[in-house]
């Protein structure tokens, strides 16, 4: 048997492939991104990056109704964007199977909130499965297609960061050819207007009842009886933590299907154990179900709703045991993430800092501009909110307009910045919007997007011309700058702030980490000329620090962008000899 160590996301992609999935559309979002990237390595499946999660899910809906097994993946907050099609796709059902991955991020490794997406399953009445490791990622992805077609519904696969980004062993099989099902016109099923939707709502309620019945005996809801003094109800990776901490000293009910939840299975398990703990990260979702059934359980009264769990947490809470450990007897400074050396966003933020503007921020690498020493993001809410919230700010007090800007990356602008920009133009907003065009989707690890001119597989395609788009929606003041050029950038920002009416600045320079970007040799400090004035350190470049009373440049990080040389009044920053 072919066994392979696979990332959870890689295993989902393999599951899609083996299940005969044919159409995949996603928008990148940590921790879900690699599913679609790995999927693109299988030629048999059509794969694409969509502009946002709503478009991706609608594409998957259309493909499923047309008869192809389809898929879309997104991070937890992406499901908020796609919630509109989600709730109604529950009513229409599918034709060929449709699977959705939502990847939650307990602990917020790379997210702006810690929402628990299981609530969406209940709210939209869509079945949700939750794998605990890579092998289950693969197998549940395949199972999800058969359940989707059995119950005529989309099925959600819920991952968490630790499952998506952990590797474990998987057994691989061949792809089955699921074929293309025939599409039959059926307005009562697929045209959701009041008269038809009323009929479909009945179907949805009957379906969830049938799925609950299925969940009572489903093979993925497993019971393991050991010592019955402690009974643990878990789902997903928390099962691994519980097993690690408690071993044979507890009995387990592991729920592979987290919505709908079984009734009799849980009641029977609870009746056989003395004390029941529900161990689940984030909200007390399964716990609330148990309590609704009148089962006495312990959950969020002893376990936190915050962050990720671990075997140590389970051990501490249930057994009162903690490991011994040593600490070095020194002060350890923190190490927050930073904008990389050579990042084109840094010099743009430096310019904004000098202009003392308020900055409506957005989601991407550039959110790191909020951190010291730049400290130049005032707000960050969600994808696209920079533009619309700046508009609100300027309408609240027109005097804000001369000293406020919005910053948004190229991919985020396509995702949901365009509608905000149309609003700016349409409603006569005196707002300055800066698109940080670094020619990629940076934070999620360099995905192509509609501005880059390439598809997910690197094929050439059309690219959105942001300047022309701005012009087409009625914005007349448009400037393009190279953020490495501090003088040019400063002049553009000053002029846009002074302009009466909406302005767009495109700050254009590819991400320094892109393989296609050629770097200059690293720079060095001439210590005879350096006066330790620290001007070069105001940009917060991780490659520049003070060593022995002079500035020093770390040659392993410096990419020779030359922004610091523009700040040095003593010509102390020079090229390094080879």
């Amino acid at each position: 048997m072919d066994k392979k160590l696979m990332l959870g996301n890689e295993a989902v992609a393999r599951g899609l492939y083996e299940a005969g999935c044919r159409v995949i559309s996603s928008y990148p979002g940590t921790p879900s991104t690699e599913i679609t990237e790995f999927s693109a390595s299988y030629e048999e499946m059509y794969c694409e990056w969509a502009p946002n999660e709503k478009v991706a899910m609608e594409t998957a809906c259309g493909a499923a109704i047309a008869g192809a097994r389809s898929f879309c993946a997104m991070k937890h907050v992406g499901l908020n964007v796609a919630a509109d099609p989600l709730f109604t796709a529950s009513y229409t059902g599918i034709n060929a199977g449709m699977v959705i991955v939502v990847a939650d991020d307990p602990g917020m490794h790379s997210s702006q909130n810690e929402q628990d997406s299981r609530h969406y399953a209940r709210a939209s009445k869509i079945m949700m499965l939750e794998p605990a490791d890579s092998s289950e990622c693969l197998n549940y992805a395949k199972l999800a297609y058969s359940l989707s077609e059995k119950f005529d519904t989309p099925v959600i696969l819920r991952l968490t960061t630790r499952v998506a980004h952990s590797r474990s062993l998987c057994v691989l099989s061949d792809r089955v050819d699921a074929g293309l099902k025939e599409y039959e016109k059926n307005p009562a099923k697929y045209v959701m207007m009041p008269a038809m939707a009323k009929g479909r709502h009945v179907v949805v309620e009957n379906r969830i009842a049938a799925q609950t019945e299925w969940a009572e005996t489903a093979g993925i809801n497993t019971v393991e009886y050991n010592d019955t003094k402690i009974g643990v109800i878990t789902a997903g990776n928390t099962h691994n933590y519980a097993k690690e901490a408690l071993g044979k000293n507890a009995s387990y009910l592991k729920l592979g299907c987290v919505w709908p939840l079984p009734v009799k299975l849980i009641k029977d398990f609870a009746a056989k154990c003395d004390k029941i703990y529900v161990i689940e990260e984030l909200d007390g979702f399964i716990e609330a179900h148990c309590k609704q059934l009148g089962i006495e359980v312990s959950g969020k009264d002893v376990f936190t709703p915050l962050g990720e769990y671990s075997q140590a947490l389970v051990s501490k809470v249930i057994l009162g045991k903690e490991n011994e450990f040593a600490c070095a007897d020194i002060e350890i400074p923190g190490r927050p993430p930073v904008l990389c050396a050579g990042c084109p966003h840094r010099s743009l933020f430096y310019t904004l800092k000098n202009e003392k503007v308020t900055v409506s921020g957005d989601i991407g690498c550039y959110t790191l501009g909020a951190l010291q020493p730049l400290g130049m993001i005032d707000t960050c809410i969600c994808m696209g909110a920079s533009i619309s919230s700046l508009h609100g700010r300027n309408k609240a007090n027109p005097e804000n307009a001369a000293k406020s800007v919005a910053v948004i990356g190229d991919s985020t602008f396509i995702h949901s910045g365009i509608t905000g920009l149309i609003n700016v133009a349409y409603n006569k907003s005196n707002s300055v919007v800066i698109v940080l065009d670094n020619s990629t989707t940076g934070m999620t690890g360099h995905q192509e997007n509609p501005t880059t001119g390439k598809t997910i597989r690197g094929e050439l395609t059309t690219s959105v011309n942001i300047e022309q788009l701005a012009s087409a929606i009625g914005i007349k003041d448009v400037r393009v700058v190279d953020p490495y050029n501090l003088t040019q950038t400063r002049e553009a920002v000053k002029a846009a702030l002074a302009f009466d009416g909406p302005s767009l600045i495109i700050s254009r320079r590819p991400c320094a980490l892109l393989k296609s970007v050629k770097h200059n040799p690293p720079l060095k400090i001439d210590t005879d000329k350096c006066t330790a004035c620290k001007s070069c350190m105001r940009i917060g470049c991780p490659a520049i620090s003070m060593k022995n009373g002079k500035a020093a440049i770390d040659f392993t990080q410096c990419v020779g962008c030359g922004v610091c040389t523009q700040l040095c009044k003593f010509s102390a920053i020079t090229e390094r000899e080879a």
Partner: protein
């Protein structure tokens, strides 16, 4: 056998992910059940990063908690001190002596501590300190620090050098293979 835990610590961008993949490949080839937990996304931008590798006959949790790691392989001194609490009593630390100032040190709100390795040894820890950056430069690039360090760690395992070299071959891009093989050998033979 009892499940073994190896933690790889470093600064985002140093190549800890590749090191953990390489280690995972070796352990899989040796027939163990393996779980590797990685960090992607925001922390990869110059923040503290850790990767967990656990192996044995069967492995439940993919993560390592305080007091659980048999080995910590740290790519940077300050990160070694930060992750020391994760080391099991009697565990081993391999530390790259390279230092990378974090932003609070650069902005002057914090100080990079002196004597980190001595402070770790003072806790009774078995430390192997190595200047992996210099060794990596000997191999021909500052970017092979990760493979040098894997080479150093390989010395303290019972797996054959050939198994490690095979994993290097299947993990690194082919155009950098020669340099990485050299880096591995320099680390493996360093003292």
């Amino acid at each position: 056998m009892e499940t073994k835990s190896i933690m790889i610590a470093g600064v985002g961008g140093q190549g800890t992910l590749l090191a953990s993949r390489l280690l995972g490949k070796v352990l899989t080839d040796e027939g163990y059940e393996v779980k590797v937990s990685e960090v992607h996304g925001m922390s990869q931008r110059g923040g503290s990063v850790v990767t967990y590798v656990r192996y044995g006959e069967s492995v439940s949790s993919p993560i390592i908690e305080k007091g659980e790691a048999d080995i910590i392989l740290s790519f940077e001194q300050l990160e070694a001190a930060r992750q020391l609490p994760y080391l099991k009593k009697g565990g081993k630390m391999i530390i790259n002596t390279q230092t990378i100032d974090p932003m609070p040190v650069i902005t002057g709100t914090a100080v990079y501590p002196d004597g980190i390795i001595d402070a770790i040894k003072a806790q009774g820890v078995d430390v192997t300190a190595v200047d992996a950056l210099s060794l990596s430069l000997q191999a021909g690039s500052p970017k092979a620090v990760n493979v040098v360090l894997i080479g150093v760690m390989a010395r303290f395992t019972s797996f054959d050098e050939s198994v490690w070299l095979n994993a290097v071959k299947s993990t690194v891009p082919s155009k950098f293979l020669e340099m990485n093989e050299k880096a591995f050998k320099i680390g493996y033979n360093s003292k």
